[in-house]
Structures are given as C-alpha cells and as structure tokens.
C-alpha cells in the first residue's frame, strides 16, 4: 500500500515511544492547582472568582478575555487561595489562579457515566448549537499551539470548509498521549469527529495516523467502517507531519499558501485527537475541558507512563509519581524533543496544551559544540516549508531584517528540522526565531501605521 505524506522536506528523528503500550492511569489529585490565564493563543482569560471562593470540579473560574480567547474551568474542588503571577512553561511570569484542593466534588451537571452517546441519539444538536457549546467549553487545540477550537469552526467569509481532518499523527518522538487516547477512547474520538463535521457543516472527515501506530489505524478503520463519510488515512512516518499544513498536504494533497492563509482556505479544518475527544466530552457529557492525556516520559525515568491529568497539577508532582528525577543534569520539556519548551522550574502546571512532559538526561540534554557552516545544504533539503534555513539564520545573525522578511522568514513553523539535521550542530532555529520575532514586530508596526 502506498502511504501518503507531505511533499517537501522532513526528517526521521529517533522514535523513542517507550510509553506506547503503557495503559493510561489517573494521576493523583494535586494539593494545590495552578491555572494560568493564558493557556491559548490570543487574549488571556479573565478571572470570575476571587480569593476565598469555593469551587467544584467543572466550575467556571475565568471567562474568555476577547474573541480569540477561551474560558477556563476548575479541575479540582476547593477554595481559591489567590490570584497571582507564576512562571509558566514559556519561562515568563504570567497571571494565574491558585486553588487549594479539598476533596473531589464535581459539578452536578457533568455526566460521569461511561455510556457512549452517539450522534444519532441527539437530534436536538444543530451546527450552531455544537459550536456554541464548544465555545463555552474552553476547548483549545490540544496538540500544543492552543488555538481556540470554536474559531476554526467559523471560517472567514472568503473560505469554505469541505472537510475536517483529525490529527492523530503524533510525529514528535517520545509522546504517546494521542496514541493511548485513540486506543482507549476510539469511539468517543469518532463521535467527536462527527460532532466537528456537523458543526462545520461538512460531509468529509479524515483521521491521519502514521504507520508506526498500526493498531490505532486498524482499530479506527474497523470502527468507522459503517460511516462512509470518514476515512482513516495511513501516513508514512516523517516529521513534522503533525504540522497543520503538512497534514493537509499529506491527507488531501492541497498546499496551504503562505500566511495569512490558514488550512480552511483550502477547505480543511484540522483538529487534534485530544480536541475531538474533548468535544465529545463537552457536548455529550457536559464536561468542560479541565483534564487531559499527558505522557510523562524519558529514557532514565523509573516509571514512564501515560496519565489522565487534572490541569493545574505541577510537573514536579507527576515526575514524582514516575519515580522522581533521574540523577545528574536533566532537561525537562513541556512537549517533545523537537518543539517542546524546556522549563526553568518543575513548579509549572499542566495546561490545555501539555501533551507530554519529556525528561532528557545526560548527553541528550546537552547541546553539541558548534562548528562552522560547511554549506552542505542539508537544512534546505529538510525544510518542510521550502525555506533556506542557513540563509535565514545568517541574515538574522547579521540583523538584515528587511532581507529576512523577503526571504519569507514568517513562514518558518519552528519545527527544528534544520537544526536537527545540521552536521555542524549550528543553532539555526535559535537565530531564525530571533530574526522572525523582529520581522513580526516590523510587520505589526507597519500595519498599525496603515
């Protein structure tokens, strides 16, 4: 069988999916839960609770702070201790709500039964209805970027959605939370997809999965056999296939143009597996987004595994549950080794976008020494956006920002393939990101002037 994949660039990092067959466990309740108000792209949420308020699991604690924003629900029951600032996974100090955990009392409206609800049983759900519930649920993209989900369901007037693509690729090394979710809650994920299709008013649905997850491909193919609108697409294994644009290219063979174009401009709405599951939970079970599947992994970790985690739980608590930090120097990542962020403190909490906590130790944690660029062109070869990373890095290092903009630096999706492949171990992406930041600022300033 010929496997689909995206057309240009890409690399093959070592898989290291050591937790693939570890069944998901419930993580212990935290003693204190920390909720950053900016867990998504866009304006941070606005607190609707104050110090001393008593909340339950599923109580709204912060509402959307703008159009591109999402509300936040408590994952624990207890008392609001304070509204403060804390360092989050990005390393910046951000506003948070802190709740002291007391017991585990849930909002009565949440349906905690295991019964599978199908779309056929709920004729009352209209597209507008579903979008509205999703907007209220606080669901944001759960693959890492954290784009509020409801916005994708109302495309700009110039674009028309034709299909929903579920991203079950999980091309980052180490991470297995999406895989476990697909294996353990496949039916719910499929109903989630059907809900998203209905909300987007489309008749085509795809789930893209890489070939290194044959069990998931098999299971989902079986379960969707009676719905001819949904197709499971087996994809060749290649990083960064989980990138939205790469996935659209791989699954429906259409190329999303440079920004500001988004997948819906070529007819596709892309959602993560975890997002589809969260949509099911909210629409069918009235359970807002407050817990998620997270992989806690690392070669030296004693008990790596997959956990269903209440958001607000700190990395430290989860790592402790896995046997504690390995000896020596470590690098702790929110996410995987390709695009994850290395955290400065273990007291950062799990948020909507935390698909993995990856611990790199020893040689893995340190960078290799940098040598001169030998102009081998391998970074150009692997760039999935068709850019020239060596050139962008040089222009950026020399502060030639206007030229940098002309060379399409804004198209860089930070996948890190260039730096991964560089035989001279050059910090290519570091340089590009620095320059991209300046260029983005220039573009913003220009738009303001207009």
């Amino acid at each position: 069988m010929k496997l689909h994949t995206f057309k240009i660039g890409g690399i093959h990092p070592e898989e290291n999916k050591i937790t693939a067959e570890v069944k998901t466990r419930n993580a212990a309740l935290p003693k204190v839960a920390i909720f950053p108000l900016g867990q998504h792209i866009g304006a941070p949420a606005k607190p609707v609770v104050k110090r001393g308020d008593v909340v339950k699991v599923g109580t709204l604690i912060a509402e959307a702070g703008g159009f591109v924003s999402a509300p936040i629900y408590s994952s624990v029951s207890g008392t609001v201790a304070k509204i403060d600032t804390r360092i989050d996974a990005t390393g910046y100090r951000k506003p948070v709500i802190i709740i002291n955990v007391e017991g585990d009392e849930w909002e009565d409206s949440i349906d905690r039964s295991e019964k599978l609800e199908s779309l056929a049983e709920h004729p009352e759900l209209t597209p507008e209805n579903i979008s509205d519930i999703i907007k209220k649920s606080g669901i944001t993209g759960m693959g890492g970027a954290g784009f509020p989900t409801f916005i994708k369901l109302c495309p700009p007037p110039t674009a028309k959605a034709e299909c929903v693509i579920i991203n079950g690729v999980e091309c980052e090394p180490y991470i297995t939370s999406d895989y476990r979710l697909m294996m353990e809650h496949a039916e719910e994920v499929i109903v989630g997809l059907q809900l998203l299709m209905k909300a987007a008013k489309v008749e085509r649905g795809y789930i893209g999965i890489e070939e290194n997850k044959p069990e998931a491909i098999k299971l989902l193919t079986q379960l969707t056999a009676d719905d001819s609108r949904i197709e499971i697409v087996a994809l060749a294994q290649k990083y960064p296939q989980g990138g939205e644009k790469q996935l659209v290219d791989a699954v429906i063979n259409r190329q999303v143009p440079a920004p500001p174009a988004i997948p819906v401009n070529v007819g596709a709405i892309v959602q993560n597996v975890g997002t589809a599951y969260a949509v099911y939970q909210m629409v069918m079970k009235h359970k807002p987004l407050f817990e998620r599947y997270t992989t806690v992994t690392g070669k030296k970790l004693k008990n790596p595994g997959n956990y269903l985690v209440r958001m607000g739980t700190t990395f430290a608590e989860l790592i402790h549950a896995c046997g504690g930090m390995p000896e020596g120097d470590n690098k702790v990542l929110a996410g995987g080794p390709m695009m994850g962020k290395s955290v400065m403190s273990l007291d950062v909490p799990v948020t909507k976008g935390t698909n993995s906590i990856t611990i790199l130790s020893g040689d893995e944690a340190h960078r290799k020494s940098v040598q001169p660029c030998i102009r081998c062109g391998k970074c150009v070869d692997v760039c999935p956006m068709g850019l020239e990373p060596y050139l962008l890095a040089t222009l950026s290092a020399n502060k030639l920002y206007e030229r940098l903009e002309k060379e399409d630096v804004t198209s860089c999706m930070s996948c890190g393939s260039c730096q991964f492949t560089c035989p001279s171990h050059r910090p290519i992406l570091d340089n590009i990101l620095q320059g991209k930041g300046v260029v983005m600022g220039m573009i913003k300033a220009r738009n303001v002037k207009k």
């Binding site: 990092p13 259409r254 990542l333 760039c383 492949t421």
Partner: protein, 331 residues
C-alpha cells in the same frame, strides 16, 4: 538533584557531523588511492603522503600562529584537501613543489577567507591550478605505467587528453587511433601512454567512491550526474558533427573528469545549496570542460571549469530559491 538545563527547541539532534562527512570522503577515496599505488607505486605514496602532511601542517600552523584560534585539525577538512590536492598531481612531482601547492591550497585557498566554510573556491583546486600555471613543465609530465619504484626519474608519456588535443589541432583523425579503449580507460590499464594525475587513472575506482558517497548520503546525485551527462551529450554532438572530436565515452573516462565530477565539484562549501542550483552548476561545469578541453590552450579543462563555476555559486544560490510551501497555489 542536578541542574535543570534550559535551551530553545529542538532538543534532539541527528547523528550527522562534519567529521562523518569529511571522513566519508576519505573512505570514498580509498579505492582510487589503492589503485594509484598499483599504477604509480612509490611516486604515489610520496606525493599523497607529503600533500596530506603539509596541508595538515599549514592548517595547524596558520590557525594557531596567524589566526590565533584553536586548531581545527580534527574536523578532517585539511586531510580531505590534502588528499584531493595529491590526487590532482602527477606522481613524479618534487616535494618542494607539493609544499608550495599545500601552502597555496590551505593558506590562500582556505585560510585567507576565514577557514572551513568560508572559502569561495575549492582549496585543492586553487593549489593545483596555481602549480599548473607556475610549474607547467613539472605539472604536465606524466609517468607511464609499471614504474613502481621510480619517483622523480620515471619515464613519461602523453596522456589521452593530450592526444585528443593534438588531433584537433592537426586535424588528423588517425591520431585518435592511439587512444586506449573505453574498457582500458575504465580500469586504467594504459601501457603505451602517460597515466595522468594520481587520482584520475581508474574511472571504476572513482565510481566505487561515488556509490559510497551516495549510499551514505554524503552527496546527492545532482552534481556528478549533471556534469557527466552534459559532457556525454555535448562531446557526443561534437563527435557526430566532426569525428576529429574524440568519442564521448573516451571524454568522460579520461582526464580528471570523474575525479572532478565526483570529488571536487561536489565540495559542499563551494557548490550551490539547492538541487536546482546544483543541476545548473553541474551542467555549466560539463559544458565549460568540453569547451576548454577542445578549444582552450590546456588539454584538460575540469579544474578550470570547476573554479570558474565556484565563482558563480553565490549567484546561482540567489537565483535558485527552493519552491516555498504553498507557492503552487499562489499565482
């Protein structure tokens, strides 16, 4: 608990390295080196060893005492330059000339521009071409086969390329009858003629090297194939129009063509970055090589063609951008 290490992504790195690429080239040269011992014996050993040794010495001395930097001998690039310079020299070249060649290659060709990665021209070819114009007599006397113990005193003879040139100049087609057969050129057995430089004697050994480089993904096919194909087609057309021009198979199997196409033109630093650029570069080198060989004043054109195109590499890079993702949709 140890320290928490913090850096930007990516946190994973592939297994590729500069050393792997450089020593990969050295390994790919081994068949050609072994064959050169078989044909040139002592001369080959003396020339190759002194070329590598002096290239490494100058790299070390210049980085340490003139640039005052940490010497970078371990990256393997000086060894590659030394080997390639040696492969481009006749086996009866006196050591004092080789020392000058190594100094020019490393000192002028590489270090004046800032060392590895910054040189616009292939250092080994800079060394070779300076020697070629400075010491034309010593650089164009080619030992004949089977003199394994002779070095400076070896008997010399004309090379196939010189014969081709002679034929074109005199207009006498029968001169081409002296050319060895394609099989002889492929294997290098060439009893009546001078053998050419140390590295160009056996096309087959060089092709083995090419197979290794492609297998290990050290180079891609674009540059060598476009050069060889262009020479094949262009000299084939010339041969059809006028048989005074040698047959295309002899053209690609003789002289430094294979050595240049596989090992010199593919030098990362001096060749274009994109595959499209590499094809343009390769086609231009092939074309220039045929032009220089047939109508220039030297019988061989590969080295000059590569150096000329090295100068065009930045322009090629500017004009051959890769296709950006989604560009297909623009219009």
């Amino acid at each position: 608990m140890g320290k928490l290490i913090v850096s930007l992504s990516p946190h994973a790195h592939g297994t590729d390295s500069v050393e792997k690429n450089m020593f990969g080239v050295v390994i790919a040269l081994i068949p050609a080196i072994l064959v050169s011992f078989f044909y040139f014996g002592l001369g080959s050993v003396v020339v190759l060893l002194s070329s590598v040794a002096f290239c490494m010495f100058f790299e070390w001395a210049i980085t340490k005492y003139m640039l005052k930097r940490e010497p970078t001998l371990t990256d393997g690039s000086a060894i590659v330059t030394g080997l390639l310079l040696g492969m481009n020299l006749p086996s009866n070249l006196p050591v004092w000339i080789i020392i000058i060649g190594a100094l020019v290659a490393i000192g002028v060709g590489k270090m004046t521009f800032g060392g590895l990665g910054n040189n616009p021209f292939n250092p080994a070819l800079v060394g070779r071409c300076v020697l070629l114009v400075s010491f034309p007599a010593q650089m164009t006397s080619w030992p004949m086969a089977g003199q394994l113990t002779s070095y400076l005193d070896a008997q010399t003879g004309a090379t196939p390329l010189a014969i081709m040139k002679q034929a074109i100049k005199s207009g006498d087609v029968s001169i081409l009858d002296k050319l060895p057969s394609a099989t002889q050129l492929l294997l290098g057995s060439n009893p009546t003629l001078g053998l050419g430089t140390i590295g160009e004697v056996c096309a087959l050994a060089l092709l083995l090297g090419l197979a290794f480089l492609l297998w290990k993904k050290i180079i891609t096919w674009h540059i060598p194939v476009s050069i060889i194909a262009t020479v094949l087609v262009f000299s084939g057309l010339l041969h059809l129009v006028n048989p005074i021009y040698a047959n295309p198979l002899s053209e690609i199997l003789s002289g430094g063509l294979m050595l240049g196409a596989i090992f010199m033109a593919t030098d990362y630093v001096t060749s274009p970055m994109t595959h499209k650029g590499q094809l343009i570069y390769g086609i231009a080198i092939g074309f220039l090589t045929v032009v220089i060989r047939n109508w220039g004043s030297y019988p061989e054109g590969m080295s000059f063609a590569i150096l000329i195109m090295n100068a065009f590499t930045p322009i090629i890079n500017l004009s051959t951008k890769p296709k950006r993702f989604g560009e297909v949709m623009k219009k």
